[in-house]
Point group: C2
């Protein structure tokens, strides 16, 4: 239907030109026929089959040809005209008057959108042994037990109520179960309440809204989980990194953060991500006292403490900060032990805090998915969660053994401390090796990790890296650490001889 | 174990006093025994059974009595001492030195927490015919069809992957399904992408973060859905209410909002909540052009348009704003047709917008629950959703008929327009009747609704109220409207004669 001078040849429409009009109209579609036809015509314009100046067939003719009511074709033309794509002229029919915008061009999105604070970790490598993701092993998922829990929920008479709108606070039987559990563990008191969230990430997001105004100083661990850092940066918080050593947060560094005016402290006392560090009972008492004296709110992320692997340790697990101080806000989650694809976590905190975050939860997404809450409750109540937890811990012992043995052998030049639980370990590279540069070589050699810089706030952490081991088989850990050790060894020799070119940043 | 002068009588511990020590210790609990014991002792202090100055049994003795290792008892005492609750004195044993704080008292939460912008609607009445909730009828839920969809997902080999951490953008097969559907309906173009959210509420929350800085002017319909209003108020936006008439937003009011500098416009062109109003095709073209000329971003909430009940209407449904302008951001959801307890919705928008909201989604809660996404995809793909939608529409026709007939008869003194779809209808009371005052009488008479003030921004809307009819049976609608008509009639007579006292605010 191309015309060189379309305006000059008004009768560009003819039988031949109409022939390719073969819209695929479906009367049973929820989209009305006239709109299906309009969409088809617009697509012809977008694809260049209909051009500016081309004349459209008369409505009567097109209707007859397509077996449509003439008003349907008129309605389609009306929409196109209202979109400014065609123009009707009395006695001369309808012409294509503009080319539809192929892409949004009237808005400058980069100016309209709020700026991003997220820092990328770089693309993860495929087909390698990856220590890059802090998540449980799919291989351990107790699929049959989970299916059984779901079936029990789906078969229950309660299903109808689960599919209806619920309460922002969460599914009441799950709330009660978790709160009873928390009271039994000495974590929750009469003064506390609970909110169900979409995992721990949403718990942090809601607390951020409830506690942090732009410009507020917030103390977080450094290295820090980036999902926590970026969340507070988005909110305009002024982040103060509190150094984390192998024994947890450094008390002097915390003192300085509190003296600088930190209003909120977010801390993971057990098996912190990314370091794997765990604080002693006495350090916890000190942290609690320092925060209380400074009037700072403490948010305790407790998502790893039930993943204590070393035998005997659980009998001497240090108390949670929440046990030491009723003002502490505690975050829990099923994601680290059970299934991260099912987004259920919770906040246990003093009632005024829960009242406020529940209000914010309603604004954020009304409430957490009902079915998932019911599935996980059934999975926990039935004892299947405890059973699964034992299996995870048994497997993790093997993972830790593999890690310990191979690190001793292949990462002897590095600084590290194998944790006794959780999912992550921090490694500091020898000499002036840079973990970002080394990563490219590691990926080429068949192993991946996340460089320390990704977890940084103000410290460089260039020589640090995180190894997440929970998703790997012991033999993968052995092989991966051996490869990594080899890469480090080569890089060190290259450095020493200074004969190799500088490593490329990836 | 009460002592009048505890410090003066150091040997307050004795056999008799120890006798009530009956901690319920569970060696198989994940909480270590020493902490279970510590919690038990703390509870004795909280309940007043142990008092300041009371002496605790020696560790050796208590260990023997409870059949515990002595180190377990020592560890429990250590924790209590670190909490400042007991004090050990060499040679004299351990004393209760403080009463544990029964409630958080060191933090002034009302000063720490960010202020709330939410306005309550007042307590809904129980045991009455309630027009207060805009949600579908549970009675129509196709439970067996839904169970079948779930079973198909649970039985699939894919289940393991669904339980693992996923992508912030959403479950890929669902994304593809919805985007294909949106392209077919002429709503999505090559320049668009999609994000899966936890229902439409989260879509609004993420877009708010992506588009609105504190102090930005945002134009919203008035009366407005409060979950939208409160969300933007929390973000520090400056809301401008655009009046909604029975024909949708008032164009002159929109003109003024855009002239005042509104940067974002949120609009529900079809069956708006709370009014039920639907805009004509020509008004849509005008709105689209005005917003584009002003450079304002348009967010189109399209969660009700597939609930078009009047026969023939769907064949002449006006185009979505998104069809008229590729820059428009479209919100969709399964919640209004299918199951609101399952939180799945989506945003179709130009790629730069989706890139930004996907980043924010990751910060908000990593990703939407995987299982629910898979269940709803299966429910839709299998044709069960379309089947259910037909059933909902058939039932809604009966609801609308009941509404139309009884309103004509009993609400003749009111101003209203029965909608041709959606879930809500707006009613303006006669004279100077106030919907807040009237509500108490209505509840007493057995019917409930939400007063207009709840949906207000700057206009009073005191004589308006919302009737949500979708969750009610036709006979409930008939009876409810008759009761409401009676209440209005009585109130009007009271007013006229001025013999009744002023109605109480509820």
């Amino acid at each position: 239907m191309r015309r060189d001078s379309p305006i000059a040849s008004p009768i560009c429409y003819n039988r031949k030109a109409v022939a390719p009009f073969r819209p695929n109209l479906d009367p049973s579609s929820p989209t009305p026929l006239y709109r299906q036809l309009g969409i088809y015509l617009r697509q012809l314009m977008e694809s260049g089959e209909l051009h500016r100046g081309d004349r459209l067939p008369p409505t009567r003719e097109l209707a007859a040809k397509l077996g449509l009511n003439r008003t349907t074709v008129s309605a389609a033309y009306d929409v196109l005209e209202s979109e400014g794509l065609i123009k009707g002229e009395v006695g001369r029919g309808s012409y294509v008057s503009a080319t539809p915008p192929a892409r949004p061009d009237t808005l400058n999105w980069s100016r309209v959108l709020t700026p991003s604070f997220s820092t990328g970790a770089g693309a993860p490598a495929n087909g390698v042994i990856s220590f890059a993701s802090s998540r449980p092993s799919e291989g351990l998922f107790p699929i049959e037990d989970f299916r059984e829990s779901c079936r029990e929920v789906l078969d229950s008479k309660n299903l109808k109520a689960l599919l209806q709108l619920g309460s922002p606070g969460g599914y009441e039987p799950l709330r009660r179960y978790l709160l009873d559990h928390a009271v039994g563990a000495g974590v929750a008191r009469e003064s506390d309440d609970i909110l169900i969230t979409n995992g721990c990430q949403q718990a942090l997001d809601l607390l951020r809204r409830a506690l942090v105004r732009p410009g507020d100083k917030v103390a977080v661990e450094e290295p820090v989980y980036p999902g926590l850092k970026n969340l507070f940066l988005e909110a305009g918080a002024d982040l103060i990194g509190v150094a984390v050593t192998a024994e947890g947060i450094d008390l002097y560094s915390l003192r300085r953060a509190l003296d600088a005016g930190a209003k909120v402290l977010v801390v993971t006392p057990s098996f912190q991500n990314p370091t794997g560090a765990t604080m002693s009972a006495s350090a916890r008492t000190e942290v609690r006292a320092m925060a209380a004296n400074a009037g700072a709110v403490v948010i305790e992320s407790d998502i790893y403490s039930e993943l204590t692997y070393a035998s005997g340790d659980s009998a001497h697990a240090p108390p949670r900060l929440k046990e030491l101080d009723p003002n502490v806000i505690l975050l829990g989650s099923f994601s680290k032990i059970a299934f991260p694809g099912i987004r259920v976590g919770w906040i246990v905190a003093p009632r005024p805090v829960i009242a406020r975050v529940t209000e914010l939860k309603q604004l954020a997404d009304l409430h957490t998915d009902h079915l998932s809450q019911a599935f996980l409750l059934r999975f926990a109540e039935s004892g299947r969660l405890a059973h699964h937890q034992s299996a995870v811990i048994a497997a993790a012992k093997e993972q830790l053994r593999a890690l310990e043995q191979t690190c001793r052998r292949f990462l002897a030049t590095c600084d590290y401390k194998v944790p006794r639980g959780g999912m992550n370990m921090w490694v500091t590279l020898p000499g002036d090796l840079d973990a970002v540069s080394l990563r490219g070589l590691a990926q080429q050699a068949g192993v991946d990790y996340l460089p320390g810089r990704y977890f940084s706030i103000s410290r460089p952490l260039d020589s640090g890296l995180r190894l997440s081991f929970a998703g790997l088989e012991p033999q993968e850990i052995r092989k991966g650490i051996e490869i990594l050790g080899g890469v480090i060894h080569s890089a060190m020799r290259g450095r020493a001889g200074d004969t190799q070119p500088a490593l490329a940043l990836v």
